[in-house]
Subunit: 331 residues, 2 copies
């Protein structure tokens, strides 16, 4: 076995050695049983636990030419933290299943661990990686399970919106989608293959958009704020506002009427771009929506259309469906 | 879009259509919030939750020529249920992240869902799939998170074994490993590629061994039994008795002395074959080990070796390490 002295591949190391290098990047666990046993034992103080899983797969979900290990770890945590927030809960723990080719460099894996930790520190202080699993795969895959606490609150479901409620959003809409367009337009070679990002060639706005795509920063802390403010329904916008609003409307048996004037300067991206992981919520008309949220529409009685934009049914492409949209040949 | 009329691929269907076909195979959820929202909300009656994740990846962990969708779903559930049992807990919920090529047939996916359900019904009644995630990948991957309840018990960790304790095992040892050898020796073509299993060509013992490999049946219900009987340490045997016993010994700061006469007729397979997911536990010398467990050795004070077999240090290969052992070229 010949090791690359400075930065071995995971195929050159034992599972235990890789795990040790990952765990030294993760903060000390406060759990009853943290990483290292068959399972973690975690507090669930109000007798309930909120749980969700989301997976990032090399190809459809990220490209290694564009995403660093840190970016990938940060995004894998962020998208899952947003799901917990969308129930009105506070994230408490992550479990991370990491499947990687044995050609993966150890430095990539340790950066990924640092990205996971940073996302927890920035977006959900008190949440930590409490367990996980390492395995070999031809396709780099990060499946993160996030757990959270409602602290006695009722969960905010998708199905509680009522006619007369206000529709509101926290976080950005469309920025990650614009960032993805910058990546495809500016950082691919003649054959369409991704090439590394040169941030110096980007305007400040473009840089923000690309960062929103590679390292999204959803408003996780505002999930419990929305719940405490009486949100009647909530979800995170992962597949585009139009598609996700139609899901919330359908689950609630209502129509969501959106005002395009509330959606910023790039209405098309705001309506169809999903990966910012903004929070979409409905609130009773009074009192005002809580700080951090802004009004984007109103809940109407059910009608022929789940969603209206400026009073009319939307036209064209509505959002991202991985089974319809991903094509390995064209990316 | 041309659909294969009888059995479409997942690439021909929307995510919602695939999900609907999966969910109709899974039993009704008793959770406060089950599948279909951003996250599930699950009971954690004693204020704690046990959580673990484990991943099966096409190639290192299963071959599609050998494993049906049902087998894969069953095994993905079983290996995770065993991790919960190994803490002394009862599994309560699974979250399933399924990443698959868009050429995957819908019939394979629905069979996988049925395998998940059957494993829960057989091994952990009351446990159900409460959430998940579908995504596209070039490599079929099933990452399962299992959650469980301790019902007020202290968790049984790996680190509690004490000199004077008895070492005991519940479940089979080595059978899945023998099954894997049958598969490699009898169901590969001249180039070493797997070919479908013809069960009629197998003896009854071989058929049992192959089934133990493809559809393991760990003694999940005996985890809480062991805890209630005062188990001082426990883990599931996933990488071979020698390797896992040495982990338990190291975590506990003791030596585990195994008696080969207690390991059945195929001692080599019992010592190094892991995928049966038996439970390895230590108990105080009195009273007797609980029903379902049998004595395989004794706990000694720490010594130069973590594990002894018949009083001597073991020789040769000790178990499975995916990063050392998997080679995509040779399988």
């Amino acid at each position: 076995m010949v090791e690359s002295r400075d930065d071995p591949t995971v195929g050159e190391l034992s599972e235990g050695a890789i795990l040790a290098r990952i765990l030294e990047r993760l903060p000390g666990s406060s759990a009853e049983v943290g990483p290292g046993d068959d399972a973690a034992v975690l507090a669930a103080a109000d007798g309930r636990i909120v749980a969700s899983v989301d997976t990032l797969v090399h190809g459809p979900d990220f490209r290694l030419a564009w995403s660093s290990g840190f970016d990938l770890g940060f995004k894998a945590a962020a998208v899952n933290l947003a799901d917990i927030a969308a129930m009105g809960a506070t994230p408490t723990a992550l479990l991370v299943a990491l499947a990687m080719p044995d050609s993966t460099r150890l430095s990539f894996v340790t950066a990924l661990a640092e990205g996971l930790r940073s996302a927890c520190e920035e977006l959900a202080p008190g949440c930590a990686v409490e367990g996980g699993d390492l395995t070999v795969s031809d396709t780099l895959t990060v499946a993160v399970t996030a757990l959270g606490a409602l602290a006695g609150r009722p969960p905010v479901r998708r199905s509680g919106a009522r006619p007369g409620d206000v529709v509101a959003v926290a976080g950005t809409l469309g920025r990650a989608d614009r960032g993805l367009r910058v990546l495809f337009e500016r950082f691919t070679d003649a054959a369409g293959a991704p090439v590394p990002v040169d941030e110096r060639s980007l305007s400040e706005a473009e840089r923000d958009d690309v960062r929103a795509q590679l390292r999204p920063s959803p408003p996780v802390a505002l999930g419990p704020v929305a719940a405490d403010a009486g949100a009647t329904a909530m979800m995170d916008v992962s597949d585009g506002l139009l598609l996700d609003a139609s899901r919330l409307a359908t689950a609630s048996g209502v129509t969501l009427s959106l005002d395009s004037t509330a959606l910023g300067h790039d209405v098309a991206a705001a309506l169809t771009g999903g990966e910012d992981h903004a929070l979409l919520a409905t609130f009773p008309a009074a009192p005002a929506v809580p700080p951090g949220f802004h009004r984007v529409g109103a809940v109407l009685p059910p009608s022929e259309h789940a969603v209206l934009v400026d009073g009319a049914p939307p036209t064209g492409r509505s959002g991202w469906d991985p089974y319809r949209d991903w094509d390995a040949r064209t990316g």
